[in-house]
Amino acid sequence: MNILNVENLSFSYAGCDKRIFNQVSFAADEGEILLICGGTASGKTTLLKCLKPELSPYGKISGKIMFMGNNIENVSSNLTTAVIGYVMQRPENQTVTHKVKNELAFCGENIGLSDAEIKRQIAETAAYFGLEALLEQETSTLSGGQRQLLNLAAVLTVKPKLILLDEPTSQLDPVAAGNFIGTLQRITNELGITVIIAEHRFEQLLPIVDRILMLKSDMQAVYGSVKEIADKMISSSEISQSLPSWMRLYGQFRCKFNSSVPITLSDGRNFIENNIKNDIKELKRTDCLMNKEIAVKLKDICFAYEKNKNDVLNGVTLNIRSQSIFMIMGSNGSGKSTLLSVISGILKPYRGKITIDGKCIDKCKAFGSISLLPQDVQTSFFCDTVKEELNGNLKSDIYDFSLYADTHPYDLSGGQQQLLAIEKLVNSNKSGIFLLDEPTKGLDGKMRQIIAEVVQKLKHSGKTVIAVTHDMEFAAMCADECGLLFNGEIISVDTPQNFFSSNLYYTTSAAKVSCNFYNGICNTDDLIKICHINGLKGVQ
């Protein structure tokens, strides 16, 4: 059954003639997942908001939105509230009430359901999403992943037909994001709900979506099945870097032959096996870390938050060389951020020694040489304009903020906020050690690339970088060494090449697709390079 039919939709904000998007047409059937993709500021959010009458932005809208056969303007607001759900990016901003059960009741209360109905829907929804144990909990105690699941569940209590999601997983770690996307697939399959999602985590999404709408920077939009649009996504400079390795590899060789775009991992592996030689197994590496001196030395660090709970850090021993990039990975709650706090001196370990540049931080105030980029970069903004944040130094080799001098930091895109925070740290103190907590959280592939370059620049300007990240593609791009934090210890410290090719789960799409064909390939650039060196099969 057709749920949504959009014809020639155009929109421009009030007081501005420039159209955000122009003549967009698409449709979504019952139980389908429609992916909306596009670069930053391509109008994804605006488009989604146009589809939800309650949030419809002020401006000039033309075209037709048909919802279940009726023009959406004529559908009563009682109905649209219930049947069209909307979930946004930051999970914590969307929770309204203080307890989980009140949050689940909120929608039903507003549309005037009876107590019995509300109770039944809470019961059903909580059971479906496994939230029963959390019902009595305060919402502020939930993790990001739990909160986002709650936001989705809260919308689902009133039996929607269509759910609109605006980058719902960007603030979640990969495991929570994977679970969330899995849940989306479940609700479409089992409940027949239509999902329209704007997102840039393509690797997990592409195999499950039915149709794609791509918004291009020139305001044109293309719409079609995954196979049709995937090809166009590869050639888009805005999107291609967020795609999994095999699709980008395909893009490099596309003109040479006619095979369809590999969408899943196995498609990608077949593509390499059938098309590319593997005579040369490895890339030559030149840089060597061994001759650099040690900048940060942790010895047997133990830390616990509460008396009767297990130690969060239990004997962390780690040597980090100066002018290198060290990436710490690990699952949620494994203590990664705690470790950074301990190194930065916010938390004090009950055992062990931290030495920075040969000085023990217990005895002298060596903290001065450390900068910490918090996970939530908004906590580093204290001023009203970018200019004030940077004390007037708008131009630097990191990023040129001249265009945004009088912009409020909150009005920058997520990636720019991240860069501003880094720039501010570089500006404000001349420290040699940078601790970065999830610097690529919520960013798309293009921005990730820029951040990776910035981190490299920091290293080349003589800084030591220690980063905690969930983003394995990012680690593979720029790390000199990687370590896994597990059970309170750092294990398997290794170069990214060895680290990712010997891991099964903690690994990148490039390592997964090249495994058994080539050795030590962990990022897309290396993959493309080695494939170019090897050349195509059947071509002399």
């Binding site: 949030l55 203080h98 305060e138 502020s140 809260a154």
Partner: protein, 289 residues
């Protein structure tokens, strides 16, 4: 008490607090004080005895303060600075501090039993929008505290060399927090709008069930309140303190309202006690098998 429906909890406390403050009779004050201490001991407050000894100290101080400063009354016990310290004033002090203390203790236990949820339920029956607002505040405060802590940590690590005075540091953190909350509040508002807050069907969901014991509690509380008012109107139960203590003859009035007050608070205590006991018995029986 913890099992009571918000409505019956509310009724109980209104009746107990009102009558404690209205009736000026040592017998009645003692009954109320005994009840508040009993209920206080039934709560699951951490270090109850420590808190109770603080209240006891408060009781002593308040009782002594009145005769020191108030010299009315015809029966001087001794003279302090040429001023009489009278028995009447001491007696009045003891009585009024008993009232004050029992009100304090009743309120203390009310803050334990009237959880946020129950409070919101009571407000939400009549003012649903205010209930949502309160619930939002309850969600927002811990979130904001967390965020504030993060701002401070940032300052402590990255700007430790900056010559910012303590006050200035906190001021800039506070200003940043305000910006943060306003910015992110827009998204919360959108989320509320998207979920139909503006439709204003307005009604908070009922998560509590009204059971027999609630009906009994409401009935007892109402009877107690009505009887107190009647007794106060028709007979003289209030004690006169100055210049001489005149205690009215102990009549049916004061006895009956004291008894019903005892019933009001003892009923939920015993009810809860027996339910708990049965619960534990069944659990242990199951474990034996």
């Amino acid at each position: 008490m913890k099992r009571l429906h918000p409505i019956s909890l509310f009724a109980l406390y209104v009746s107990v607090l009102a009558s404690t403050m209205l009736v000026k009779n040592p017998v009645y004050s003692a009954v109320s004080l005994a009840g508040s201490v009993l209920i206080f001991m039934c709560t699951e407050i951490h270090s109850k005895f420590k808190e109770l000894s603080f209240y006891a100290l408060l009781f002593l101080i308040l009782s002594v303060v009145n005769p020191i400063f108030n010299h009315r009354g015809n029966t001087p016990m001794f003279f302090l600075n040429d001023k009489p310290v009278t028995f009447e004033a001491l007696f009045y002090g003891i009585n009024s501090s008993a009232v004050l203390l029992s009100v304090l203790l009743w309120c203390r236990t009310l803050s334990v039993y009237l959880t946020n949820d129950k409070l919101l339920y009571i407000i939400g029956r009549r003012f649903p929008k205010i209930a949502v607002l309160l619930s939002m505040v309850l969600r927002f405060i811990p979130d904001m505290m967390n965020q504030g802590k993060k701002y401070l940590e940032y300052k402590n690590v990255n700007e430790k060399n900056a010559d910012e005075l303590g006050v200035k540091k906190y001021a800039s953190v506070f200003s940043a927090l305000v910006t943060w909350s306003l910015e992110n509040g827009i998204e919360t508002a959108d989320s509320m709008k998207a979920r139909g807050f503006e439709l204003g069907a307005g009604k908070s969901a009922d998560f509590f069930s009204f059971r027999t014991e609630d009906a009994v509690t409401v009935l007892l509380s109402t009877v107690s309140f009505v009887m107190t008012c009647t007794v106060l109107y028709f007979s003289n139960v209030n004690v006169d303190f100055y210049p001489n203590i005149i205690i009215p003859k102990i009549g049916y009035g004061i006895i009956s309202i004291s008894l019903i007050l005892i019933a009001v608070y003892l009923f939920p205590v015993f009810f809860n006690f027996f339910i708990d006991k049965k619960r534990n018995r069944i659990i242990t029986e199951r474990k034996k098998i």
